[in-house]
């Protein structure tokens, strides 16, 4: 019955980075700068780090220049706290808001092509939820490179890593974390072209695999954002945090769900319903179209539910309009060039003349692998896992709590990437080379892959994938209830079982797309189960998590959800307290960092 799977060969390095996107490679560049000669291997699922999903981020990176005449870091901290619906960690907010500008300058000095003001300074634009004077007026805080800021960031950290001789391994996935005596000592990886497993032993390992929203029918995420890093942590017996908080970006393009950046609204675009009414004025009288994303996404669905939405025949989807017709030609051509071309190419509308159909799209996970403010991974509520770090979207330190403000993700990627790099350098001072492979290395993953390769039955990958994406959208989407979530948990259990009966199209190991996708599908189902379970347990509405049966925020749930699921649907819950250190320090304006009301 086929081939026996084995570890083909073993290599060693100082630092293994799983996922070579913005966060992973910012960490790599930091290590390279601070500790030249460190041997670093960075794994990516795609062909080159430059193809990572970071490259699709559009609008900007929030950072307050300490010399700014009107903006102050404390306003940014407050906005982030309020935006999170009082569930982010204040030690992390304080730290990252304070170093944001340094990182913008770091990127610029390392060659990023930021857009400029007439004086040649880095240009800034307003973004949702970012305001001056504790919520009074819009702040110009998002530093940007046209509407391709993520690409600018990705190109910069990729090129810097190249400069420091980071060894990139493309087209591969990390399938198992290697642990010995409670330390992480590397990973088993699987390379797509050869279809072989390799072991990499490392003194320190960083998980930076990014986002995961491919389990939703409408998603702005790339094909490979399938929750691999989260599944890796869960399968190792580690907890994940706040996964119930899934951000739906209000303006995905009808059809493929491609992101239409908030920068469009930052430049003045307006949401309209079928009567062309600018409806956000009713939901958020002050912030209007630049209210936080969770609020606008719910408003759009509300409009559609109450019959003021529209229906797109071609894509068979409900939507509202985004109006960009009144923006100057100069803005269309220079500041939002990429997004305008997406509307023209993918939707067939010209934003200069036509209204653009948009609908909420699953976009970002606020939660992730819990870390402390140094990027060290939390093993349980009491301690860290030596040798294991995590940063970027896959991790939760947590800057975002249960809702993230636009442009705070790029801020988090870069600042936590750097901080994690610094943490790794510190850790390497006393770290020893791992002895060798643990005797049982790879056994679990070989069993798993053998099961996929030899599966018998009549199930089809596509049917299970589509069922999953529909059920997550309907039952674990923007609006949730006990009934819908209980159904989802049952459905997911059934899907997991069905997924063991998908015979792969071929058992040849090299570039076996089917095998690769079945592995991804299993990760998606695993992570979906944790999202649903977390959502079921959180009987309140907070940030992006909205329960129709519990529509208000409740102080009872002033904590982070921790979930362990070492075996599918064997779930254990735990809690992590929310860090309130800004409030507790009793400094200026501390009272604003209490559990405040959230209105815009």
């Amino acid at each position: 019955m086929g081939k026996t799977l084995t570890v083909d060969s073993t290599s060693r390095c100082d630092v293994l980075i799983i996922g070579a996107g913005g966060a992973g490679l910012r960490a790599a560049a930091q290590i390279g700068e601070q500790r030249p000669g460190t041997s670093i291997i960075a794994l990516t699922k795609v062909f080159s780090p430059q193809k990572s999903h970071t490259t699709t981020a559009q609008g900007g990176m929030a950072a307050v220049d300490p010399k700014d005449p009107v903006d102050r870091a404390i306003f940014h901290m407050f906005d982030t706290w309020k935006g999170s619906d009082c569930s982010a960690d204040q030690n992390v907010i304080k730290k990252l808001c304070a170093i944001g500008w340094e990182e913008v300058v770091w990127l610029e000095r390392h060659g990023m092509h930021f857009s400029r003001t007439e004086e040649g300074r880095i240009a800034k634009r307003p973004f949702g939820g970012h305001m001056l004077d504790f919520g009074e007026t819009l702040a110009f805080r998002a530093c940007y490179e046209a509407d391709r800021t993520g690409k600018g960031i990705m190109d910069t950290v990729w090129a810097e890593s190249l400069k420091y001789g980071v060894n990139f391994i493309g087209q591969c996935i990390a399938t198992e974390l290697l642990c010995k005596d409670g330390h992480c000592i590397g990973a088993i990886i699987f390379r797509y072209p050869e279809g072989k497993f390799f072991a990499i032993l490392a003194k320190a390992t960083i998980i930076a695999t990014g986002g995961k929203t491919r389990m939703y029918l409408v998603s702005s995420n790339c094909r490979g954002n399938t929750g691999d890093g989260l599944a890796l942590a869960l399968n190792t017996g580690l907890p994940v945090m706040d996964l119930e908080a899934v951000q739906f970006h209000p303006t995905g393009m009808v059809g493929p769900g491609i992101l239409a950046s908030e920068a469009l609204r930052g430049e003045g675009a307006i949401l309209r319903n079928k009567d062309e009414e600018p409806f956000m004025e009713r939901y958020a009288p002050t912030a209007k179209d630049l209210a936080p994303r969770d609020l606008i996404s719910r408003a759009i669905i509300q409009e559609i539910r109450e019959g003021r939405g529209l229906f797109h025949e071609g894509h068979n989807a409900h939507h509202v309009w985004l109006d960009l017709r009144h923006l100057p030609k100069e803005v269309h051509e220079k500041k939002i060039q990429e997004v305008c071309s997406f509307f023209k190419r993918f939707v067939g509308v010209d934003p200069e003349k036509d209204l653009c159909p948009v609908t909420p799209t699953a976009h970002y996970q606020m939660g992730g692998i819990p870390t402390n403010e140094f990027g060290e991974v939390q093993g349980d509520t009491h301690g860290i896992v030596p040798g294991l770090f995590a940063c970027g979207e896959v991790a939760a330190a947590s800057l975002h709590g249960l809702n993230r403000l636009g442009t705070n993700s790029l801020l988090e990627l870069i600042t936590m990437g750097r901080v994690t790099g610094e943490g790794v350098v510190e850790y390497l001072k006393d770290a020893k080379d791992p002895d060798g492979l643990p005797p049982d290395a790879g056994h679990i993953i070989f069993d798993q892959f053998s099961t996929y390769l030899h599966a018998q039955g009549k199930e089809k990958y596509a049917e299970i994938r589509d069922t999953l994406r529909n059920l997550m959208m309907e039952k674990v989407g923007i609006f949730r209830s006990e009934k819908s979530l209980l159904e989802a948990v049952d459905d997911l259990g059934e899907l997991k079982e069905r997924a063991t009966h998908i015979p792969p199209g071929t058992t040849c190991m090299r570039t076996n797309q089917d095998l690769w996708q079945i592995w991804e599908l299993n990760n998606l189902i695993t992570v979906s189960m944790v999202i649903a379970q977390g959502a079921l347990a959180r009987k309140e509405s907070r940030g992006a998590h909205f329960r129709e049966d519990y529509p208000k925020r409740s102080d009872e749930f002033n904590y982070h959800t921790l979930v362990y699921m070492p075996k599918f649907n064997t779930v254990t819950f735990d809690k992590r307290p929310i860090d309130m250190s800004i409030f507790e320090a009793k400094g200026d304006h501390y009272e604003l960092f209490d559990y405040i009301q959230r209105e815009y």
Partner: protein
């Protein structure tokens, strides 16, 4: 709006285990607003799960899904069925892998190898200018930036390198050369001598025949040949 088309795809297949190549013909009923990546997924879902094809972001921002359709290198995520029918004036499409790197399977080529060329252009600042006296960002006027910012939009999809008549023979290729040009035009780069050495090396810009195929096929509408011409003229 959503008129359905019956299209025929003749796809180059390659099996790395048997090293066999063949052409497989698929008939697909596809709505006009589907993109070619959707059509390929539809083939996987409904007809043949073994057909391998590359993609990632699927909205023309990562450059992973380059393929050749009826002779033209393009991004499969950008080509809508209705536009393909109109543009190529046919319902039959020949799909081939890019020719810029070894084929791994079917339409998937080893772009990782193709990237070795880009690495040669050292896409970072080799020697950055000293920081501004205020200690913050270097000042660059929008006018200066505008001269080269189009070139920074390149996503290294290698469509231009595939279309280029010289890039298969001793030429670093249009995208790689343009990556070097970006840094030559970037006022923050001080390593100009080293940059010019890259530009004018044996496999450098003078291998370009100015056929301008790069500009013609660029999915991001970058006038690649313009930047190569500046390189030849020494205008940077």
């Amino acid at each position: 709006m959503s008129i359905s088309h019956t299209i025929t795809l003749e796809i180059n297949r390659y099996d790395p285990d048997t090293e066999l190549s063949w052409i497989h013909t698929y008939q697909v009923e596809a709505s006009g607003i589907l993109r070619f990546v959707d059509v390929l997924r539809k083939i996987n879902d409904e007809q043949d799960p073994t057909l391998a094809w590359p993609s990632s972001c699927e909205h023309a921002q990562c450059g992973s899904c380059g393929i050749i359709v009826n002779g033209k290198p393009l991004l499969a995520c950008e080509l809508l069925v209705k536009d393909a029918v109109e543009q190529f004036n046919t319902h039959t499409f020949k799909l081939k892998p890019l020719t810029i790197a070894p084929v791994l399977r079917d339409l998937v080529v080893d772009l990782e190898k193709a990237y070795d060329r880009v690495h040669k252009a050292k896409p970072y600042l080799i020697k950055p200018a000293p920081p501004h006296r205020d200690g913050d960002e270097y000042r660059i006027s929008p006018k200066t930036l505008e001269i080269y910012s189009e070139a920074t939009r390149c996503i290294n999809c290698f469509c231009c390198a595939t279309a280029c008549i010289s890039s298969h023979h001793h030429f670093l290729g249009p995208n790689t050369t343009m990556a070097n040009m970006v840094r030559l035009m970037d006022p923050r780069e001080r390593a100009r001598k080293e940059r010019m050495d890259i530009l004018y090396r044996e496999d450098g810009v003078y291998r370009c025949h100015t056929a301008r195929a790069c500009s013609f096929v660029c999915p991001k509408d970058i006038d690649v040949s313009h930047f190569l011409a500046l390189g030849k003229e020494g205008k940077f």
